[in-house]
Amino acid sequence: VVLGVKKPQKVTLKQKGKADKNLEFEYLSEPGNKVVIRKPDVAISEDWSIVFEASSWY
């Protein structure tokens, strides 16, 4: 079993009634494997989803 995420190629924010938006992100492989998105610009009270696209995710 191989675990963990690799670096995504694209991170997209999806919200109803709005156009999809590409989000900028940072990938840190040390320590741990971490994807960091600064200012995704969504309200905590809203419905949304964020899709991480990678060719091989695990």
Binding site: L3, I44, E53
Partner: protein
């Protein structure tokens, strides 16, 4: 230096996001400035990270979401917020209860119950934590029982965690 025992799940260092998996005992360097606090794999924590003198001052602060994946690449967490002082949460449904779930390659934010609470706080940071763990035990060759045990373990890992506003 501190030796930490971890239950057989993944645990991530609260500050750095470094993952600890596999072996149950880990040696962790803990100088005076380091608190050995860990986040369980499979949980989503909703944090307010700006240091303040009181919770009242934190009211409008932005949120940080920390998504820590478990062995199945999933995580789940909840947030509850109300005004922190009145009974409006009872009489006027004035609260916010949201679920954050990571599954597959998607993080989704949904409302758990219909309620009305005007909260303008935004998410200013989102971190997704995971590890590529090559030291993990090789997949069990041995039959259904081992697999069933593994599944049960993951099921308990999928338990949700909640953190409201203090």
């Amino acid at each position: 230096v501190l030796i930490v025992y971890h239950t057989p799940q993944r645990w991530y260092d609260y500050e750095t996001g470094r993952a600890h998996g596999g072996a149950p005992y880990h040696t962790i360097d803990t100088p005076l400035a380091k608190m050995p606090v860990f986040q369980r794999g499979g949980s989503v924590l909703v944090r307010k990270d700006r240091p303040r003198r009181s919770t009242t001052q934190m009211k409008d602060d932005p949120y940080t979401l920390v998504v820590a994946l478990n062995g199945n690449g999933a995580a789940d967490g909840e947030l509850y917020v109300d005004d922190g002082k009145s009974y409006d949460y009872q009489t006027k449904n004035a609260y916010l209860r949201r679920n954050f779930r990571f599954q597959g390659t998607e993080l989704t934010s949904t409302s758990v119950r219909a309620s009305f609470f005007p909260l303008s706080c935004s998410v200013h940071l989102l971190a997704l934590l995971s590890l590529v763990d090559r030291r993990r035990h090789p997949p069990a060759v041995n039959s259904h029982r081992a697999r069933r045990g593994a599944r049960r373990q993951e099921a308990t890992e999928g338990h949700s965690q909640a953190e409201g506003q203090g």
